[in-house]
């Protein structure tokens, strides 16, 4: 396998409700930003993560549509779908293609345009990531499924309602320093605890929003990146795994086995341990998710995610800064773009380009992106080369 570097990264200018922009426009905006950052204009192929362009904008076959509007036909382009982990899976396939020697310059991107439909249609589209026949049929929603995880975690490990709130408060504090973020402002624990109940015990400020957004990264062999004159960031570990998409089918409702398995593969490939990681971008689609993910990644012991958050370990100044970008909660969660946007943030952190939200001296970063309630998970480990 060849060593793979990330030559350039980009997001569309602002995430949020972009009523004046189409799916193809926001994708091209992000892809051009990544191409400019990389200083290349020729691509060998593209992988695009998108969970449900069909339900959100009534358009499938966006792989070729986007290659065309980016001005890159006839290169091969393929859309990847693993629910909210689609972006992470696209990155992994691009990594494999460059590592194999099949292609030299590959664009991995993600896009979701979610605000063209009503809130209830968006809820339905997102619900298709759960088991429609045996979860959705009984009236479960995504916040409802994560609420089931939260209740079980509180019962089993004594995780508190305040600890959940602290995840959102911390991610908003980080997001306030990110100009792209949909919600670049701070919130308080009281604000979270007094926000409207969505699915007990989760409230609206425990939930990531509905977002329009796109992200892209350019992958290439490491030798090519060394000639660019910027700090070189390599993908040194990649893992992906599956689990039952129905929560009831899992042995332990509080445990994200697919994330554990994906992380194990990535640590092994990178020859690193959780203690080596300087900065993380993880899938905080709901506050409880970030807590469970930290446990599955081995960053904290089983059941300790809430207490680690309360102790400040996961804040920008803490011993394991998590979601300096603001995470899904504050930056926004355009589902198919999220996994690629995590890569964008970690590359900026490792290059030392993250401005106010820079984790000082970060040299090794981890991204974790998951679909549904953890039925799929993708983990990457990135390292700065010197």
């Amino acid at each position: 396998m060849r060593e793979v570097a990330i030559l350039g990264v980009g997001l569309n200018k602002k995430w949020g409700e972009l009523w004046d922009k189409s799916l193809r426009q926001i994708f091209v905006e992000a892809a051009l930003a990544a191409l400019d950052d990389a200083g290349v204009d020729k691509l060998d192929s593209m992988y695009i993560g998108s969970m449900s362009s069909g339900l959100f904008v009534g358009q499938e076959h966006i792989s070729s549509l986007l290659a065309d509007y980016l001005g890159h036909t006839p290169i091969p382009a393929t859309r990847i779908e693993t629910a909210c982990a689609s972006g992470g899976a696209a990155v992994r396939l691009g990594f494999i293609e460059v590592a194999s020697g099949m292609s030299d310059v590959v664009l991995v991107g993600g896009v979701e345009k979610m605000t063209d439909v009503t809130g209830s249609e968006a809820t339905y589209a997102l619900g298709t990531a759960a088991d429609q026949e045996y979860e959705g049929y009984h009236g479960l929603t995504f916040p409802g499924l994560y609420a089931l995880i939260a209740r079980a975690h509180m019962e089993k490990y004594g995780t508190t309602r305040e600890q959940l709130a602290l995840v959102a408060v911390k991610n908003h504090r980080h997001g306030a320093m990110n100009p792209v973020a949909q919600f670049p402002f701070e919130i308080t624990v009281e604000g979270v605890l007094n926000s409207v109940l969505v699915a007990d015990p989760l409230r609206i400020l425990d939930c990531s929003p509905i977002t329009d957004g796109a992200a892209a990264a350019i992958l290439c062999p490491v030798e090519m990146a060394r000639s660019l004159g910027k700090p070189v960031v390599k993908i040194i570990g990649s893992g992906q795994a599956t689990d039952s998409i129905a929560l009831a089918q899992r042995k332990d409702i509080t445990w994200l086995e697919a994330t554990y398995q994906a992380a194990k593969q990535a640590y092994q490939m990178a020859d690193k341990t959780p203690a080596d990681i300087d900065v993380l971008e993880v899938h905080d689609c709901f506050t409880i998710a970030e807590i469970c993910v930290l446990e599955a990644l081995g960053m904290v012991d089983k059941g300790e995610g809430g207490r680690a958050t309360e102790a400040g370990w996961t804040s920008l100044e803490g011993k394991m800064p998590v979601n300096p970008s603001g995470g899904l909660k504050a930056k926004g969660h355009p589902v198919g773009a999220t996994g690629v946007a995590q890569i964008v943030e970690i590359v900026r952190q490792l290059r030392g380009e993250a401005g106010q939200r820079q984790v000082k001296g970060a040299r090794l970063g981890l991204t974790q992106n998951m679909g549904g309630t953890g039925g799929s998970s993708v983990v990457h480990i990135l390292a700065r080369e010197d």
Binding site: L140, G144, R151, L202, A248
Partner: protein
């Protein structure tokens, strides 16, 4: 939401609680599967789901999908039944204050919601506290 064919083919599970028991290792699956996730066997015998169990976790849905608008707020949970099967369903005939992990429940046949895409009334099982 269910088309008539999609609804009709799930009737054995939803109306008659038909599960599948692995002939090799005895694991019971609901819904039925074709391959045992534990031992890889492809041979199953039909069995009826245990009807009693205990709540493992629960929530109250305050913001429902559109077809459940008239029902909200409503409780949903996962229970572990006496045969080891874990099942997701609504919890009815109890006040929200009574909900707790470990609550004994039994399965009862109820209406789930009206008007799928085909205008059908959808039935299935719900949890009722014992």
């Amino acid at each position: 939401m269910p088309t008539p064919a999609k609804y009709w083919r799930e009737i054995p599970q939803r109306y008659r609680l038909e599960a599948a028991k692995c002939q090799a290792c005895g694991q019971v699956y609901f819904p039925p599967r074709q391959v045992c996730a534990l031992c890889g066997s492809r041979k199953f015998s039909p069995t009826r789901l245990a009807e009693r169990g205990k709540l493992l976790t629960y929530t109250i849905i305050r913001v429902p999908p559109h077809q459940f608008t008239d029902l909200a707020p409503y409780a949903v949970g996962i229970a572990e039944l006496e045969d080891g099967v874990r099942l997701t369903s609504q919890i009815v005939d109890c006040s929200f204050d009574e909900l707790r992990v470990g609550l004994p429940v039994k399965l009862e046949f109820r209406k789930i919601y009206e008007e799928g895409q085909a205008g059908i009334i959808c039935y299935g099982y719900k949890f009722v506290p014992e």
